[in-house]
Symmetry: C2
Subunit: 462 residues, 2 copies
């Protein structure tokens, strides 16, 4: 049973952070929020520092040493609060209703951060003294704008260091209250195709002679995938890493049904060939292409027979290990050229988020699973990969970390939307889980020291 004082302190910490409108898209209150986070970490016993990023500073807290190095990654910046009129309570004021807390960042990611920090305090009450492993807590201020300086920062600050596990900034609890452990994230790239076939719009009768930019964009877009969702770009699948046997096993037993996914999302049309038996494999392992937006010409009521001069299509591609977005950009350009669309301009909005996938049978995943099942009283789900993306690859590439996501984000959390919320009961459980995870990490570190006492450990000179 969580002590009341711990929960009270956690709720006050979260209320204080939510009240700081640290909107990175507007570069707002980032230093103020970073300092609040730094103070919280210092108060919890960490050595702290603040390091400048391109937009918002990074906060680092560090404590302990031993044979194991664990990193926690969170972020203190939030999405803009628009549209404000749809909020039922002020976005930057934490409100309690029906067993939930509402407010911008209450889930993403201030609530995740504070639940772990409260867990840390709970753990330290019972385990004071030197921490037998090294814990680096990194709190980003630029996550919501794509972490533009994270990679360079890691290179600068932690060059040559090794991290065993990176506890990712969030994790999920499903609609029936089962905690989900995410062992990977897809990469993502966002591009735009633009076509211009004239200096100005023309009378559509000239379409007998001149080409149409929207038809060209439609044909180019259609050429990129087929009805099953298969990407038709030459070489697109070359770098795809086959899922490990343990991942395949996990993916063969979907923790939820396709029907429930369709009900929850309102989706009405599956890709050709997707069914109840294989959809979860696609969620975890299949790259995909999405048209995010198509624009050009007349979009008003009724008809206007115009031959537009230009148009644009926005597309994202989700990638799986070991596809490289920069490489895919080159393949996409080659595809357009090969198919007669050399005139179509390719604008790259983002090709920086690479896919990552950790081993689902890693000891940290197994420890976390046991802890979550105990605290939530439900079977935990180990998911080989989220279908979504995060800037996790620098932790893998530079620090060799396994990425594992567990946390309190539930399916109605309204991330990035009005009325973002968390379920207080799940917040409490994640405090308990976090404390238990820190305890397990300590035990593991002790055992490692005992089993190889002569071996040097990170941060110590033998």
């Amino acid at each position: 049973m969580l002590p009341h004082a711990n929960l009270l302190k956690a709720s006050e910490d979260l209320r204080r952070l939510v009240a700081i409108p640290s909107v990175s898209a507007r570069g707002e209150k980032l230093v103020e929020c970073a300092e609040a986070v730094r103070d919280l970490l210092a108060e919890a016993g960490f050595d702290t520092e603040i390091q400048q990023g391109d937009v918002g500073p990074f906060v680092i807290g560090e404590i302990g040493s031993g044979p194991l190095t664990v990193m926690i990654y969170n972020h203190y910046d939030v999405q803009p609060e628009d549209p404000v009129s749809l909020w039922h309570s002020p976005p930057f004021e934490m409100s309690e209703r029906d067993g939930r807390w509402y407010g911008r960042g209450v889930a993403d990611d201030k609530g995740e951060f504070i639940s772990r920090l409260a867990g840390w305090r709970l753990f330290r009450e019972h385990h004071p003294g030197p921490l037998p492993f090294r814990l680096i807590w990194l709190v980003d201020g630029e996550e919501e704008i794509g972490s533009p300086s994270l990679e360079a920062f890691l290179k600068r600050r932690l060059d040559g260091e090794a991290v065993d596990v990176c506890w990712w900034e969030y994790g999920e609890v499903d609609a029936s209250g089962r905690p989900i452990i995410l062992c990977g994230f897809k990469g993502v790239m966002a591009v735009e195709l633009r076509a211009r076939t004239a200096q100005a719009d023309m009378h559509s009768s000239l379409g007998a002679v001149f080409d149409n930019p929207l038809w060209r964009l439609a044909a180019a877009t259609a050429s990129l995938r087929d009805g099953t969702g298969r990407i038709l770009i030459d070489g697109f699948y070359d770098a795809v890493r086959q899922p490990a046997p343990s991942d395949n096993e996990l993916a063969s037993a979907p923790p939820y049904s396709l029907d429930s996914l369709m009900d929850a999302t309102g989706a009405q049309r599956l890709l050709d060939g997707i069914d109840a038996a294989n959809f979860y494999r696609a969620v975890n392992f299949e790259p995909c292409m999405n048209v995010n937006g198509f624009s050009g010409g007349y979009a008003g009521e009724g008809a206007k027979t115009v031959l537009p001069a230009e148009g644009a299509v926005k597309i994202d591609l989700r990638l799986v290990p070991d596809q490289d977005p920069q490489r895919i950009v080159a393949l996409l350009r080659a595809h357009l050229d090969k198919h007669g669309f050399g005139d179509i301009e390719l604008i790259v909005h983002d090709a920086n988020v690479k896919p990552v996938r950790s081993a689902a049978d890693h000891w940290f995943v197994q420890d976390a699973k046991a802890v979550l099942e105990e605290c939530f009283g439900q079977p935990a789900i180990v998911q080989p990969s989220s279908p979504a993306s995060g800037t996790a690859h620098p932790f893998v590439e530079q620090l060799g970390a396994e990425i594992v996501g567990l946390g309190l984000t539930h399916h109605g959390a309204m991330l990035h939307s009005p009325n973002e919320n968390i379920i207080i009961d799940q917040f409490v459980r994640m405090i308990e889980c976090s404390a238990a995870i820190f305890a397990r990490l300590s035990e593991r570190a002790y055992r490692m020291r005992q089993s190889s006492p002569a071996q040097p450990t990170h941060g110590e000179t033998p």
Copy 2:
């Protein structure tokens, strides 16, 4: 030399009509303008009547009888004046600058109407007395909104009657001052394809499982034609009438170059296979498909990785004789179903304008050519078909008329746009041309009476 009094009267008549903002899209001042037109026709000696249409009334003037029935078709309604801020003088106030008159409707179609009416008065000064042919002057009040009641009106008012020639509401003068005679117009149909694949927008990561409405629309749109502009709908070309040898001959000698067309329009990209030698055939004889607008999803700056719930594409098809837009709608629906796009909704905005093409070697065309060459002092161009469209088929289907367009619309006339204008010198020439055409029609009617005196003529009981 045109008498000064005639031109003065014509300019005052036109000034008076331009001052009436007879915008059919807004149902504005239509009765007032119809009455002004009726008064002008009555003043010029016509028996007149006003007949109700769905939106604006039709004005009919009639005079004469004989072996020949000629119809003139004009319209007194105009396009909206928006955006007003781009006009250099008030849209509903005829202004003179640099040898041009400016104002909404000064070309389309009040200027065409008034130039012919002034020509009629000039002709009647020298040819008073009974007109030896029947002349029916129809002035539409709904042309700019697609003449919704024209077909029914013709059926009601002129059922069973026959018309030899219908002098179409406009004609063109090219950039070098050469008059163009239009012998046909393409049909046009405007449709919209809509796709919905979910109840609401989703996170784009779900694109691994669910289909994307914008990709579906892109694929459907791409399937409708190829890079050469060839329409890929089964049966689309079945009803296409091969051009007559005389039409082919005309089309083989373009009156302007492809380069000049590209310069004038700002077009930068030809359909595959179109070149200087064949573009003019396409202008005259090829049906074509245009994407007028494509909308759906995110169209703002940068990237937003959303999986949109819905999208729409607006498409028009220009048709050539004897394609039937209603039939093409059915073929298009079948095409979508056959290609796996049965879920895509097909909305028909307009499938009422059928293609027409008259014989380019018709006597009226030859007479008009001779008259235009004399008045303009330049070779006249006989064009088998305009690439554009007009609701001309009821005149062909119900009255058996040959459709021929000649008039004063020049290439910088800014039809439907701010600063609509005509060149006063060309207005004067069209008055003279019109007078000469009425004279030629009279002569022909006299000759017809003389060559077959016993034969009954239209409107007379033998």
